[in-house]
């Protein structure tokens, strides 16, 4: 499996897509942190205390950074996943790989592992970049660089917050992976993932607004469960959501039990992986 994983990572070498998407994510992270900071500087009227719970001062900025890492990262990594699978069909290299003596489950597993490595690096670098940005703005705002505020996260909780974010990105990435496998196309997978993400955001807001049985239908959507998981990242953060997020933030009473949401996301992931494997196993690979 190690040599298979090495082959997947070698394929990524020299591809521009991950680099371009990294720049996009870095730019949006900069906007997440420096935007409110510059706004505060420019306003000249509001106190920092009114602003600080929004985004750019540590430790409150952590939630904003992770919101952006999730909201934007999920979309960008879905593009990467779609490209990982779809371009192999587009170039016809799936055939070239499968005739080398690898079983289809191993080939698919290597692809998922390769995607996991690239995705983890992508999100970790983005998070680290966000931290660097917020260290700068916290210092510029002449605030102490500390996590030690009332209800603030402990140092051990910060990596956990990041892992929670990564976990919440997974279903969207695997959805794109599944769509690319189903349609043998990058464009169809990217299009399908984006449509799902945007439509989900709208439907969650509409169904939540209607209430009653309609609100219960939100259980069918990935985003409703993601909200419950990511809410745990809001330790010590006020009510305002400052990162780039495409879903409405639910009321506290509307949130699912995090453990139940975590399990639901795992089931989504299993479904997308299982369905991808099922399709890949039983279909012909044509030129």
């Amino acid at each position: 499996m190690i040599s298979l994983l090495a082959s997947e990572l070698l394929k990524v070498r020299g591809r521009w897509l991950p680099w371009i998407l990294s720049v996009v994510l870095a730019a949006l992270l900069a906007l997440t942190i420096f935007g409110p900071y510059l706004s505060w500087r420019g306003s000249g009227t509001q106190s920092l205390e009114e602003f600080e719970q929004q985004s750019f001062v540590l430790p409150w900025s952590l939630a904003a950074i992770l919101d952006t890492v999730h909201g934007v990262g999920a979309i960008l990594l879905a593009v990467v996943a779609a490209s990982f699978v779809g371009t192999e069909y587009g170039w016809g290299t799936v055939r070239s790989c499968l005739i080398r003596g690898q079983t289809r489950p191993r080939y698919l597993a290597a692809k998922l592992l390769g995607l996991a490595v690239v995705g983890l690096i992508f999100l970790a670098v983005a998070f680290a970049l966000g931290l660097i940005f917020t260290l700068v703005t916290t210092r510029l705002a002449e605030r102490p660089i500390t996590l030690d505020v009332p209800a603030g996260p402990s140092p051990a909780e910060v990596p956990l917050m990041f892992l929670r974010t990564v976990y919440a990105v997974l279903p969207y990435v695997l959805l794109a992976f599944f769509l690319a496998e189903a349609f043998h196309s990058t464009a169809a997978a990217v299009g399908g993932s984006l449509i799902y993400t945007f439509v989900e955001g709208i439907l969650l807001a509409v169904l939540g607004g209607i209430g009653g049985r309609a609100a219960d239908m939100r259980l069918l959507f990935i985003g409703h469960h993601v909200n419950a998981v990511l809410e745990l990242n809001r330790i010590g953060v006020g009510p305002i959501q400052a990162g780039f997020v495409l879903r409405p933030r639910p009321e506290a009473a509307d949130l699912l039990d995090p453990a139940q949401a975590t399990l639901a996301l795992a089931l989504y992931c299993l479904f997308f992986v299982g369905a991808s494997l099922w399709l890949f196993q039983r279909r012909d690979v044509r030129s």
């Binding site: 394929k11 591809r15 170039w91 016809g92 055939r95 070239s96 005739i99 003596g101 079983t103 012909d284």
Partner: protein, 311 residues
């Protein structure tokens, strides 16, 4: 249908009742064929006859609707990974990662095949004449260079069975000659080679055995040498073709006669040349030329396919 009684262990590739349908289209029908060690098997057929579909099923990327493939005596479907590691293949229109170099592409395939050293990669690049361009991105390669790279990828793990789908596509005449020589060498090295081609003369020059496919059905399968000797004939140029035809028609040991001006094609064993010469001289008809006629694969192909061109 083995053509010369092989030991069972010699059979490297066997298809049994292999059938593939695409909806209502029957692409391959009940195909039984065998390829043995040291054999270079030419798989001939017109476009759309099912050659590439057959190769797809052999390599496990297409699923047969019926029948099965055996590679090295094992059911290919059940032991696909193991048998493909002993197989090298060039698919129709070989595909590569265009943003990577030729060498990096081979490294990827080497990682998938297992056990191929960097030195071996350079050896096969040298073998196919691409060592000088090994660091260039594949997107800059011509069709012929991609074909050579595909051959390198197929051979780098020293396979026992080599499956080639139109391996000379896109090559210039010199490249075609080199590839033909390479294929012959592989056979001489004891490897089994299964090569599909639409070029009759290529198969005639390269292959030891031939199978002819039309509309998914195997019409004929036999050694090329037997096929070329079948229906032996003599070509004559005579002083009076009309009288010569009349004389020869009277001989019960002469088969079919064909006339083209003063030239005659007489279906008769070559050892009858002296008898032909004597009989005609007795009738005052003299030979300007007499030589054995060599059958061609093209004649055989046209005969079994009912006159359809391979292309």
């Amino acid at each position: 249908m083995p053509s010369h009684g092989p030991a069972p262990s010699d059979v490297v590739l066997r298809t049994v009742g292999l059938t593939k349908r695409y909806g209502r289209l029957l692409a391959v029908a009940d195909l039984d064929l065998e390829v043995r060690r040291g054999q270079v098997y030419g798989f001939l057929g017109p476009n759309g006859s099912g050659k590439t579909t057959t190769i797809g099923m052999i390599l496990g990327i297409l699923r047969p609707n019926r029948g099965h493939v055996e590679l090295f005596g094992l059911d290919a479907r059940q032991h696909l990974a193991a048998v493909l590691r002993r197989t090298g293949a060039v698919m129709e229109s070989p595909s590569f990662y265009p943003h990577l170099s030729g060498r990096a592409n081979l490294r990827i395939f080497a990682l998938l095949s297992g056990g191929v050293s960097r030195r071996r990669i350079d050896e096969v690049l040298d073998l196919v004449g691409l060592l000088g361009r090994a660091a260039s991105k594949v997107r800059t390669y011509s069709m012929g260079m991609r074909q050579r790279l595909a051959l390198a990828a197929a051979l780098m793990h020293d396979p026992e069975l080599v499956v080639l789908d139109e391996p000379t596509n896109g090559l210039d005449p010199a490249g075609m000659r080199e590839v033909r020589q390479l294929i012959r060498n592989l056979g001489q090295m004891g490897k089994a080679v299964f090569v599909s081609s639409h070029l009759l003369h290529e198969v005639e020059q390269t292959c030891t055995d031939v199978g002819i496919l039309k509309q998914g059905r195997l019409l004929a399968q036999q050694p090329v040498s037997e096929l070329l000797q079948r229906g032996q004939a003599l070509e004559l140029e005579v002083t009076d073709a009309e009288r010569a035809m009349a004389v020869l028609r009277g001989l019960d040991w002469v088969g079919e006669l064909t006339r083209n001006d003063n030239r005659l094609l007489v279906q008769v064993p070559p050892e009858r040349a002296v008898d032909i010469s004597r009989v005609l001289a007795e009738h005052g008809i003299y030979l300007a030329e007499l030589r054995p006629h060599h059958n061609t694969l093209e004649e055989f192909f046209l005969e079994v396919t009912g006159g359809e061109e391979p292309l």
